[in-house]
Symmetry: C2
Subunit: 237 residues, 2 copies
């Protein structure tokens, strides 16, 4: 939570919401999530109990104060796409928005990570948040793959793979207390997904007309063997 305006429409009165988040995290860190009641939080923040639930529909929501905004950003980002965007690359870029949100506030993100790792209830809540991101990506891909054979299946699988790759990199960054280059790690992870699902991995092909490789295959041969052979030959693993 930065100190100035953040989640509200635009202007300058987020004091109460931020105060609740600050009070909640202070107590969560010193005595644990489940040992802290909502009454404790509102007492420390000096506000009424009823006001807490005006800003956060549940006790869990105070732990993820900015995911709603991020989800809205992602939805808008995908809605602003057009047919010129390569679909898989586009959802990878959308996933990077989530990393951006985490990276805005590394220490807060790391604290929250430790909390969610320990408390089953928070882990479940996080799963439902992640699921909404995944659905947003999948719905976009379903639109782009409409008419293609197994379009919905591909959309769901690719969305899940993108989310898994993103989370793999994100969590390893969080485990290292926010050290290292999170962006590079996520790029690497998403690059793997893009290469697996037939999207160009960032760098456009340079011109090396002399570098030619010939593959010969029987039609009946399993596709994975052919691809494996090509990968080996091209030296990309």
């Amino acid at each position: 939570m930065s100190s100035s305006d953040s989640t509200e429409t635009a202007s300058a009165k987020p004091s109460m919401r931020d105060a609740l988040v600050a009070a909640a995290f202070q107590l969560f860190l010193e005595r644990g999530y489940e040992q802290t009641t909502v009454d404790d939080i509102v007492a420390l923040a000096g506000v009424g109990r009823r006001s807490f639930f005006r800003y956060f529909p549940s006790k869990e929501d105070v732990v993820f104060p900015d995911h709603e905004r991020c989800l809205a950003d992602m939805t808008a980002f995908l809605a602003a796409s057009d047919a010129a965007h390569e679909p898989v690359r586009r959802v990878c870029d959308a996933a990077r928005l989530v990393l951006l949100m985490y990276a805005e506030n590394p220490s807060f993100s790391v604290q929250r990570y430790r909390l969610t790792k320990q408390v089953p209830g928070l882990r479940a809540y996080e799963l439902s948040v992640v699921w909404r991101y995944e659905r947003a990506l999948a719905e976009y891909l379903r639109g782009r793959f409409a008419g293609r054979r197994d379009g919905n299946l591909r959309a769901d699988v690719i969305a899940a793979a993108v989310v898994a790759a993103h989370n793999n990199a994100l969590r390893s960054w969080l485990r290292s207390d926010g050290q290292g280059d999170a962006s590079a790690a996520v790029d690497h992870a998403l690059g793997y997904v893009q290469s697996a699902f037939g999207a160009p991995p960032a760098a456009p092909a340079e011109e090396h007309p002399e570098d030619v490789v010939v593959v010969v295959s029987r039609r009946g041969a399993p596709l994975w063997r052919v691809v494996q052979e090509i990968e080996t030959t091209l030296g990309r693993d």
Copy 2:
């Protein structure tokens, strides 16, 4: 829930547990999940309130009475693997265990599906169950990929893809009220994942030595273009 023995270790005293599940679903279906209190359930089942929580740690658990057993089955299945099993194929087979559980009792599964689709709390609970399956698959793959470059990343992504493919097929089967061949749909979906991640897609290549295709590529060309070209040529989309 079949009428005879089911979830308990082996013998013959599951009466109370089954009675609670039956009473719960009867009420959930006639007046909705959130409109049904635990007191209503125990009143209908004719047992004490305390006994409900002896059998089910929470109200949500009564909706998924057999997932614990299924998860244990999957863990055991994966633990019984050896190095001879192709890893991706193995996790696909593990995923089929879940389908098997749903197919054991189609009408029950369809009712539960409608319920979880409507009630956010149940959807969140289901996500946490699915997450445990996914972690089981991912942990197995991490073991098999140990030492390989990006082993953990690959494990997480493939596990997510397998789960997403399985769920895609399962949910479309559930939406159709349990009509159609769920097993075939899941096979098809998992086949897609296997082909994407370099596992042989079930049928070994038949011998058609005359069916030959030649691909010529520059080394610098993006891999996805090469693969796309091969897919088109082989007529697999």
